[in-house]
Symmetry: C2
Subunit: 704 residues, 2 copies
């Protein structure tokens, strides 16, 4: 009797302890809370008592650490290593040699054989991925009675791009500052580096470009290469390769040459030697990411050379070491009168076939610049002889930054699932980047990271979902937004079905909501100058025409929208006919892209029967209503979520509501000057005047 | 039987769980690990079962939360609230009304009465301090059988100075960036703000200047005042008042006036209205900290007015609201040929008696600028009619920044315990700032914070000790360095006596070591330009003479040191005769200050019998040896400390050793050019050449 009471006490103590060790978000989706479903817990406890990891490499040790951390917590009982454990993690298990043959380095199998769960792969890193795959399976409450998983990534190089500067500021970073503490490297390995690598490994990310695309040549000097080497050494056991951005003018800035002309022998030689030096430090260095002749960055065109000539010079230097060049297609010229949306295509299409084999052209998802919604970039499918990498933005530059909850999976999916019709129906964008459409050997996908020094890594607790999503889609772009949300929510917030569904609905609403209250119906680039925080559709005085919001919305008394039809800039014809014919016709063009491709009168009749003006106004209001609905959903979870994180998200959703109202008011008041029409009654009247909204300044807004 | 096994299992599980929840340092000294001493644990468990907090204010709730968090962990058993708990926390307990009378607002009593531990005070904040006092008593393993504590602070205003900019960079910050996320304020209250306030409350810090002394007037505009108000509201229940830095030219920059002349009516009026506005937002606003006519900051002298005229204008505006002005004495002039060490005294002494009653002159501990070791500032004791505040630097600008372990308590204590002889023997510096020597009503002490966005708050895990020390000495400057270390180590690292002693020895060695390997024997300001990272005694080309290291060491063929004797700059005579007569005589002057006050030949004979040159060289070597001793001590604790933090400190101590060697080599090679003498055999020969050390550049060193 006395003993039973003691057990009760200990249990009560555990509950208290759990309650008081409040979540700060640092653990991401690797919380490993105990399984709450009693049947599943019974099953897991009965099945798993010990584990075996055969091997002694650092990666094996990481696997061991992960199991030691995860299993006792998930199962609520001690789990120990054993000689022939109920989980066996081993390379090239003899039973599955033939199955492993086609899985490549990163692929893995998880199979139940008699009473044992076997995780096997062709490589140590594959075992690590398999381990995380098994743990995810447990975390997402799936039976292991007959577990049978075969998994391999669809894209080879799954890379985060950190737009981080050497002074630790982060361009478009909204979660504090860069986690790379360059000053303390190489001798101090911050715990963050290991936790970062571990989180990436758990979702299959296998590369990191450490430095900003607006590059600093100093990163290629010995004192910095020593630091980069230290990071590469720390990341290697987690399967993460390090990449750097190459400043095209580095031969001048740190090499003492007078030119950076890619056809100049001294320049070629300098890069050859520099690359060899880099590989002396980091034998498995991944390669260079280059932003050239774009927004002021130097490039081959400074010397009358083409992007291909520039990229190939670097590519040849990297070839002996199996490195690659990721050359960005994000170029648009000041002096070019052409529609900015067309310029990358015009620049790169003629170069198709002229790149070395280890060059990948990295293309943003849309033709402008990470807007809340863009049609897919016309280069996808169009360039046939050159592998293209997708560049998604995970950090929310134009999508509410760190104060708005916007789940980006549906946006990524909309692009990946878009059909380019490059080889007829079924030529989705995803197939143009995973190498299957044109049989390319190299495949890559990049995500501009949203990771910073904030305690919870990403600023907004829900922004973690976008990091997670990028990794999961990079591994398997066929996953649905809903299924990724399912996984992430269970690992991050709650295992309870009802709560899971509520959070998922909230997440699935969030991107459409943000498009509605910021840039509905194909509007784009209405954001504040420089920092891109908040609405500023009135800005018309920036030195480059295509930096001004007025360039994009073209609102006048006669209507609104950018005419990219055949009678306008003809951007539509950069797409294959099955697509361009749809985009070109306002009656066929999906309304979500309408003002991206068409300039229409304020009275243009929408499918709803509303005039365009009214529809715009109603969309802004709808966005606000959707946010309020998200708030209501979140508030309903007050008792279900740990109080700190619940309060955090509640505060942020309130900010999101306020910012949505600000967007509606500023945009409608501004556009009303041209439409000269009343705001519909069902739309809340503006809270302040246009003059007020135009007066707002944010000199220290983050990330720029 | 089955049940017993279950208990064993649960216990084993708990041990594993504890092991895996590795320490990242975020919890600071508030870890509340279970008491390991079995007798004490028995005693605590037998005495404490419940607690009572009478009251419902936010501060009472904070007290409740702290007890709920701390007690179950410390005692390893459930503790609950009750009507008449074994701990009773209540204001003005009737039994102790008379004892409380003299304790002031912040003081508290902790008394055992029968079976109950009573914590009582005159105020809610006093109860909070008392609660933390009781928890510290438990954490530091002291019996509570007859607990009887009476405590009250010796200094009223115990203030952190954050040199944080609105863009979140932090001047002289080495732990990442500012924790004030201005962009997300006022609507988002970061968990860090509350954890910061709680940590401060636990050591009695009751004020925070949020902004850099190199000030930005924008902080006084409405959009920022809203943000400041949000922080003030968050801090208030923790007893922390908010202060701001006032940019003297704010009336011009944000007020639209043409002058900031403190005698101009419009300016006076502007500040009066601005102060009223500030108090409308923050009714308990603490006041302004001002750096004026110092290092380019604007001030009253721009208009031919004195520091007193400038300070008094602000003071009068603050008087109706009981705010204060903290006016910094850190002034030195470009155009002034006088020894920089003398300038603050010369500037401020004539103004003694001319300041309003709510002006405090904030004086750095020494006359130059937070050097590794400085004699106390001659203004202490000299200004009699004006309250002086001590300004210590907690952030290690000149003391190894975030890569060196330097426990600063002995440095603070050396200054606080120095006797000024202002009113004869026993006129210690501490009495000149706590108000007792000259019976001032206002007393204040400031510490330039070392807090940033790093996971562990302070970058170096041991830098937490300096934050802790500042708070504890601000409360009671009679505490010894050893006793503060005792407390902090037990709460942060280990309760085991042997480990505690090892860590304490290591800490107590660290400051003398750093003085030895950086600036032995009174040398000062030999650090790299701008960032102050590493040695650069050769620098002689900065635009202001007194920014150059050569200004300070004055090494020539004939010797080294700054002659501040009566035949030199006569800085010694700013001290009272009992002090100046000692400092003036090289035979009496403590060798630790020798080259601060004397220029001596390389062959000058030291007390050791060594020549000065040899002694300098041996001191540098001794510093390195001391660091190696610290390393050995730390390595001996490998099994006693959680592996993450042990590894972190190990890496940092290695960096410290390398930096100590760098200091020795760079300084000795440089000074050797003048001494033209051999480095003694017992000193390790330099690893590289002077040319190499002079070539080092750190363009992105943090904090400047």
């Amino acid at each position: 009797m006395k003993i039973s009471i003691q057990i009760l006490f200990i249990t009560a103590f555990l509950l208290i302890y759990q309650k008081t060790t409040a979540q700060d978000g640092y653990k991401l989706w690797l919380r490993y809370d105990q399984i709450t479903n009693p049947e599943l817990l019974d099953e897991f406890q009965a099945t798993i008592g010990t584990y075996t990891v055969s091997g002694t490499s650092p990666t094996h040790q990481i696997i061991r650490n992960e199991l030691e951390l995860a299993l006792p917590q998930l199962l609520g009982k001690p789990i120990s290593a054993a000689d022939d454990g109920s989980i066996l993690i081993t390379k090239n298990h003899p039973k599955f040699i033939s199955d492993l043959k086609d899985l490549g380095e990163d692929g893995y199998l998880i199979k139940k054989v008699d009473d044992q769960i076997i995780v096997t792969s062709d490589s140590d890193i594959g075992l690590l991925y398999g381990t995380f795959g098994l743990l995810r399976h447990l975390q997402t409450q799936q039976s292991i009675k007959t577990i049978d998983i075969v998994s391999q990534p669809k894209i080879q190089r799954r890379i985060l791009n950190h737009w981080d500067n050497l002074d630790r500021t982060s361009e478009r970073g909204y979660a504090g500052f860069s986690i790379w503490d360059w000053h303390k490297l190489p001798l101090y390995i911050d715990q963050r580096y290991l936790d970062y690598a571990r989180a990436n490994a758990s979702i299959g990310i296998n590369g990191a470009v450490l430095t900003n695309v607006n590059a600093n040549a100093l990163i290629l000097t010995p004192s910095y290469l020593e630091k980069v080497k230290a990071l590469a050494d720390a990341f290697r056991p987690y399967g993460i390769k390090v990449y750097l951005t190459a400043r095209f003018s580095a031969p001048i800035e740190i090499g003492g040459l007078e030119t950076a002309d890619p056809l100049n022998d001294e320049v070629i030689n300098w890069w050859n030697e520099k690359v060899e030096e880099v590989y002396n430090y980091i034998p498995d260095f991944g390669g260079f990411l280059v932003k050239a002749n774009s927004e002021g960055q130097p490039g081959p065109q400074n010397y009358g050379r083409s992007h291909a000539e520039g990229a190939n010079m670097l590519a040849k230097a990297l070839q002996p070491f199996n490195g690659i060049v990721m050359w960005r297609a994000f170029v648009y010229s000041n002096e070019e009168p052409e529609d900015r949306a067309k310029q990358a295509y015009n620049e790169f299409m003629p170069l198709d076939g002229k790149f070395e084999e280890n060059v990948v052209i990295q293309v943003k998802n849309g033709a402008i610049d990470f807007q809340p919604r863009e049609p897919f970039h016309p280069l996808f499918g169009a360039m046939k002889q050159t592998p293209l990498a997708m560049e998604f933005q995970i950090t929310q530059e134009y999508l509410g930054q760190a104060t708005q909850l916007v789940y980006l999976a549906p946006m990524y999916k909309e692009v990946l699932d878009s059909d380019t019709y490059a080889k007829g129906e079924g030529s989705e964008v995803s197939k143009t980047i995973d190498g299957t459409l044109y049989n390319h050997d190299v495949s890559a996908i990049a995500g501009v990271a949203n990771i910073g020094t904030d305690l919870n890594w990403t600023g907004h607790p829900f922004a973690q979902a976008n990091w997670y999503t990028f990794g999961r889609l990079a591994w398997d772009h066929s996953l649905s937004s809903e299924s990724i949300a399912d996984e992430w929510i269970q690992m991050t917030w709650s295992q309870q079905k009802a709560e899971l569904e509520t959070i998922k609905e909230l997440m699935m609403t969030s991107w459409p909501a943000s498009v509605n209250y910021m840039t509905p119906l194909g509007l784009h680039h209405l954001m504040g100058t420089g920092h891109h925080y908040g609405p500023a559709p009135w800005v018309d005085n920036l030195p480059r025409a295509d930096w001004n919001p007025v360039y994009y919305h073209k609102a006048t008394a006669d209507g609104i929208g950018f005419d990219r039809t055949r009678t306008g800039s003809d951007a539509v014809d950069q797409y294959f006919p099955a697509v361009s014919n749809v985009f070109n016709d306002p009656n066929k063009c999906p309304e979500k892209y309408l003002l991206w491709f068409h300039h229409l009168s304020w009275d243009y009749e929408m499918k709803s029967g509303n005039t365009l003006w009214n529809e715009i106004a109603l969309r802004y209001q709808k966005g606000i209503d959707q946010v309020r609905n998200m708030q209501a959903k979140w508030n309903s979870l007050e008792d279900a979520i740990d109080p700190k994180r619940h309060t955090q998200v509640k505060m942020l959703l309130y900010i999101q509501e306020q910012e949505a109202i600000w967007w509606k008011d500023a945009c409608l008041l501004y556009f009303q000057q041209f439409s000269d029409r009343a705001i519909p009654d069902t739309v809340e009247p503006p809270e302040k005047t246009l003059t007020y909204y135009k007066s707002l300044r944010f000199p220290y807004a983050p990330g720029h």
